[in-house]
C-alpha cells in the first residue's frame, strides 16, 4: 500500500498531465461530432453576460452605418410594399377561389443581434442575444439583410449559439435561381467570402454572376433566400458532378443584426419525415 502511494506521489505529474490531456481530447473530439452541452458554449450564463455588456458598448460605434443601411432597406421595402399592394388589388378578384392563398403565414422572423462572432476557425460559431424565452429552438435558420448566415445550434435562456455558414461541418441545400439544379453548399476554411457548391449535375446550366438561393427542401430556410453569386467552375477529378465557386453575399466580418426564421409547419413536416424513417 505504501509502495503504491509512493508510486502515485512520485509520478503524480504524469497522472495529472494525462488526465488533463484526456479531458481536452475528449472535448475536442466530442465537439467536432455532435452538439455539446450549453455550459461549454459561449451561450452560457457567464459568456452571455460578458458578450452582451461589451456588444452594448461596441454597438454605439457603428450606429451611423447601421442607420444608413436600415434607411436604405426601409426605402426599398416601402417601394416593394407599394408595388405589392398594387398587384394585390389587381388579384383580389381571383382570390376567392385560389387554393394558394391561406390566412396562415408559414414563415415568421425573430430579429436579434450578434454579440460574439468568429471567422478564423475551421468550424465557426456566433452568439446572438435572443434565446429559448424568445421562442428560438435549435435547428432554426438564421439570415441577415444580404442572405443566409447560419443555423441555430444551442439555445440558452436569453442567448443562442449559431453554427455559422463558415463551418466545415455544416452543409446547406442550395440551387441556381430560376433553375432546377440543386447542390450542396459548404465552406472550405480559407476565405470568409468564398464557399463552394458541390454535387451539381454535370449538365446543369449556369452563367457567371448567377444568383444562388436556398432550395427550400428543408424546414430551416424558405425557398429563394439569397446566398451568393457564381464566380466560376472549379476543376475536380470527378466527371459526374460540377463544383461551383460561390461569392457569399453576407459579410461575415461585420455581422450585426440578424433574423431567425421560424417555420410554422416545422413540427408537422418533421413528424411526417420521422414516420417515413421508421418504415
Amino acid at each position: 500500500m505504501r509502495n503504491l502511494l509512493n508510486f502515485l506521489i512520485k509520478y503524480s505529474t504524469w497522472f495529472v498531465f494525462t488526465f488533463y490531456v484526456l479531458i481536452s481530447c475528449f472535448l475536442l473530439i466530442k465537439s467536432s461530432k455532435e452538439h455539446y452541452s450549453l455550459y461549454l458554449s459561449s451561450a452560457n450564463a457567464v459568456g452571455s453576460t460578458i458578450f452582451k455588456t461589451t456588444s452594448e458598448i461596441s454597438n454605439y460605434f457603428n450606429l451611423i452605418s447601421v442607420n444608413k443601411s436600415l434607411q436604405e432597406s426601409n426605402a426599398r421595402l416601402e417601394n416593394e410594399v407599394l408595388n405589392l399592394r398594387q398587384q394585390l388589388s389587381q388579384y383580389q378578384v381571383l382570390a376567392q377561389d385560389s387554393a394558394f392563398l391561406s390566412d396562415k403565414i408559414r414563415f415568421d422572423f425573430i430579429s436579434a443581434s450578434v454579440i460574439n462572432n468568429s471567422i478564423r476557425h475551421p468550424r465557426n460559431h456566433f452568439t446572438i442575444d435572443k434565446g429559448a424565452s424568445d421562442g428560438i429552438v435549435p435547428g432554426m435558420g438564421v439570415v441577415d439583410q444580404s442572405g443566409v448566415v447560419g443555423i441555430v445550434d444551442v439555445t440558452g435562456q436569453n442567448t443562442a449559439r449559431v453554427i455559422s455558414l463558415l463551418n466545415q461541418n455544416q452543409h446547406f441545400s442550395v440551387k441556381v435561381k430560376d433553375s432546377p439544379f440543386v447542390g450542396s453548399l459548404s465552406w472550405r476554411g480559407d476565405d470568409p467570402s468564398i464557399a463552394y457548391m458541390e454535387e451539381v449535375p454535370r449538365h446543369a446550366k449556369y452563367h457567371i454572376g448567377d444568383t444562388i438561393v436556398t432550395s427550400g427542401y428543408s424546414t430551416t430556410f424558405p425557398e429563394g433566400i439569397n446566398i451568393g453569386t457564381v464566380m466560376g467552375k472549379v476543376r475536380t477529378g470527378d466527371d459526374t458532378f460540377l463544383v461551383l465557386k460561390i461569392r457569399l453575399a453576407s459579410n461575415f466580418k461585420t455581422l450585426g443584426t440578424i433574423r431567425v426564421i421560424k417555420d410554422a409547419l416545422k413540427q408537422e413536416l418533421d413528424s411526417i419525415r420521422n414516420v417515413g424513417n421508421i418504415d
Binding site: S12, T13, V16, F17, Y20, V21, I23, S24, C25, F26, L27, L28, I29, K30, S31, Y36, Y39, L40, S41, S42, N44, V46, G47, I50, F51, T54, N116, N117, S118, I119, R120, H121, P122, H125, T127, R161, Q168, G189, D190, D191
Partner: protein, 168 residues
C-alpha cells in the same frame, strides 16, 4: 503571498477577457492571431509545483475555449505548454539556487534570455494549437505560415506589454 495570489487571479481574469473580447477578433493578414493569455503561464513563478502549473494552465485554456466556442483546443495546448514551461525556462538560464523563488521577468533573466524564453513559449503554443485545429483541413505549409505569423505577433505583443510594465 496573499497579495501575489490576488494579483495572479486579476491577471488571469484580465487576460482571458482581453483574449476573448479583443484579440480573437484581430486577425492580421488572414493568419496572425495574438494569444495574449499565455502571458499568465509565462509569468507563473518557477518554483511552484508542476501539478499546479498544469491545473492552472488547463483552467486557463478551458476558460478561453468556453468563451470562444473551441472546446478542448486551447485547454490541450495550454496543458502541454504548462508541462514544457520549466524546460523552456532552464534552457536559457543556469540552474541556480538563487533563481528558485522568482517569476520570469526581464529583470531577473536578462533581456536576451527573457526574449528567447517568451519566443520559445509562443512558438510551442502556436505550433500545437494550429496543428491540432487545422491538421485535417489545410496543407502543412499553410499551418506553418499561420503558426509562424501568430508566434511573431504573440511574441511582439507580450514583449511590448513587458517593456511598458517593467520600464526601469
Amino acid at each position: 503571498m496573499n497579495k501575489d495570489v490576488i494579483s495572479y487571479i486579476c491577471l488571469f481574469v484580465i487576460l482571458v477577457l482581453v483574449q476573448v473580447l479583443l484579440m480573437n477578433h484581430i486577425v492580421l493578414f488572414n493568419s496572425a492571431v495574438c494569444f495574449i493569455f499565455i502571458y499568465f503561464l509565462i509569468k507563473l513563478p518557477i518554483n511552484i509545483s508542476v501539478n499546479w502549473v498544469l491545473t492552472l494552465g488547463f483552467i486557463l485554456g478551458l476558460s478561453v475555449d468556453i468563451l470562444s466556442d473551441t472546446p478542448g483546443l486551447n485547454a490541450l495546448s495550454c496543458t502541454i505548454l504548462a508541462v514544457l514551461k520549466r524546460p523552456a525556462f532552464f534552457a536559457y538560464v543556469q540552474h541556480d539556487d538563487q533563481m528558485r523563488n522568482i517569476s520570469p521577468t526581464m529583470g531577473t533573466m536578462g533581456f536576451f534570455s527573457y526574449c528567447k524564453y517568451i519566443f520559445t513559449m509562443s512558438a510551442i503554443y502556436c505550433m500545437i494549437l494550429y496543428f491540432v485545429e487545422f491538421i485535417s483541413y489545410i496543407d502543412i505549409a499553410d499551418i506553418f505560415i499561420k503558426a509562424g505569423a501568430s508566434t511573431l505577433f504573440t511574441f511582439l505583443v507580450i514583449l511590448a506589454i513587458d517593456s511598458l510594465v517593467y520600464r526601469n
